[in-house]
Symmetry: C2
Subunit: 417 residues, 2 copies
Amino acid sequence: MSAATLFLNASEVVTCAGPGRARVGREMADAAVRSGVAVAVQDGLIAAVGDERELRARYRKAAEVDCAQGVLTPAFVDSHTHAIFGAPRAAEHELRASGLDYMEIARRGGGIHASVRDLRARSEDALYELALPRLLALSATGVGTVEVKSGYGLTLEDEVKSLRVVARLQATLPLRLVPTFLGAHEIPLEHRGSSASRREYVEQVVHDMIPLVAREGLAQFCDVFCETGVYSVEESRAILTAARQHGLGLKLHADELTACGGAELAAELRATSADHLAAVSDDGVRALAGAGTVATLLPATMLFLGKARQAPARALIDAGVPLALATDFNPGTSPTLSFPLVLTLAVSQLRLSVAEALVAGTVNGAAALGLAHETGQLAPGFSADLALFHARDHRELPYWLGARLCERVWIRGKPCP
Amino acid sequence: MSAATLFLNASEVVTCAGPGRARVGREMADAAVRSGVAVAVQDGLIAAVGDERELRARYRKAAEVDCAQGVLTPAFVDSHTHAIFGAPRAAEHELRASGLDYMEIARRGGGIHASVRDLRARSEDALYELALPRLLALSATGVGTVEVKSGYGLTLEDEVKSLRVVARLQATLPLRLVPTFLGAHEIPLEHRGSSASRREYVEQVVHDMIPLVAREGLAQFCDVFCETGVYSVEESRAILTAARQHGLGLKLHADELTACGGAELAAELRATSADHLAAVSDDGVRALAGAGTVATLLPATMLFLGKARQAPARALIDAGVPLALATDFNPGTSPTLSFPLVLTLAVSQLRLSVAEALVAGTVNGAAALGLAHETGQLAPGFSADLALFHARDHRELPYWLGARLCERVWIRGKPCP
């Protein structure tokens, strides 16, 4: 047993303590914020949360971290990113502002296809060097766990290359990374000539990529971009069914731009999460509630795309769907390097309470990765994943728009660089 | 003549060079971005912008700043803030999310009134200590000039106290601060009992506060919150007319929530700027164009308030109104501590090009403060107010949503802390 560390003198500790599963409905309204308590960490786990004097007495030889009247929270769980990519796509930002929409940019060979061309041309080393500082910048805003998707390769070789980059990052960084295979992110340009060629790519995903990725342990989840003009509900079902047979967890990009039945499919397959949902139908909301699938909302994407519409967060919570929040960090539609900004958008745009936003960014983000038993709350037995913020009141985290309040992040009890 | 400093090895220099006045229409579409050039600074002014080798030869003994292939820009001009306040109002954020609107929160004695009670109870010293780190945090995102309004005092004594805090900050900080008197920010609660009492407060503003503020040189501008339920067009006209007689420049909070004729009044008085304008009418747009008044847009406020509507930026530019961008930094409706976030919103939400956003945040921000001849561009004779960003392409400044790219800011050639 290693020496303990005591986190002392926090103005507030946002514990999010409770069951190690996704929180729904009224459960989301309580982030279990405590004042005057200390947190004891030992062997990378939370050992205790309780009265400062009592914990000082119990852990006499503990190292001490002075929280200097800041706010201590579980490190955020960013459960949806596309962090392995090459060049930024800054030029598209103003193209879109000038009136071109996402689908139009994609039809012109830009959008995802530009990132695919770019990623295929880069080595694993080059992609690693690009991803490293980006993940560190994101983590420095309070994030301890990041899901990272492939999906800019769209060949067996390039998808595997992307996932190997995630594995190398995991070997270097203290951050907890969760790799997701997203070979079905787009139909590659070379398979768009005929429906036979398109079918051929889906077959490759199902028969070549998924078995290899699963066999080599390169991904924990499989995801599909189910959307009008991208993968149909039928194609998505075939891919995710194969993924499940190979032991991968299931995620789905569902109803981002159009209500095409993505949420219903995610529910049918009891996917771990259905993500985006800005255009989800009432039937889709009901289906998700029945399935226990986590709805992962990505408000920064809608903001960056200049959409007035956001996902119906309140309707989802009221229906009993567990809500998570994520950055959707990606080079085209959400080059977002701040998790607290997503919290601000959750309150200002999705109309969540601060507690709901915090639970969505911690416990429920963990649940969206099948990790609700392991991280996302400060309670005995959970991983010692913490973030310290320069603020007196937890409500300041979403409040100070665009500010940089995070002072330090610890993963499994170890401070991040 | 002091020794020169050379800024070398920038990947791009956004000069915004051109006439020392507000840019309109197509002029806004050109931020005069140059590659392979150096910037020479001497005696706090830009001495030259030109070929690196040539400037190295001309300034042989110059100190050197290695821009390390970053992007060098004019330091941003944040021409609309309410940076002198006490406690943050984080609790209101989720109250608003739960459905209460700005006017309803104000009617309950919250909103501005909460900040007024709070500011009146604090000493000048306490307000100074609170404002200092906030202004430094804002500046660290690339800002060199900040307009700071009073307006949470609403008594002669407390308005003067607020403006003295600005003067003390100006004496300490290298930042260029521009103080604005906003005694007419709200009708104080103690003057809301009758129309006679309300009139009495307007009289105090006109006959007591404005003459004193002008005489003691405590403000360069006078501003009024002209809005349905706050100051009427007639009251605003009376106050601003008095301000002009006392030599103050004119600004107006115009048509933020309702189209009540604010833009028309700003145009009639040839105010230096009309600010907010989310609800401006077509007549208002035409009036501003005819007057040469700068339209200062504050997109972070609409975002934070959860409004889908933004000011009609494109219509304003097309009509020939010079556009500026600002944070509106204040404790109630825009606790925004990032200027680049405002640039992101300008592209994503207001649909400006990147060049238009950069011109709006520099030259036109300066014009909104009567400083277009002095700051906002990197051209010989202008103040050496620069910001250096960790990016290769100026389009990355609005692109990396929520990122912290600014590495350093210089004001009058001196690095900021």
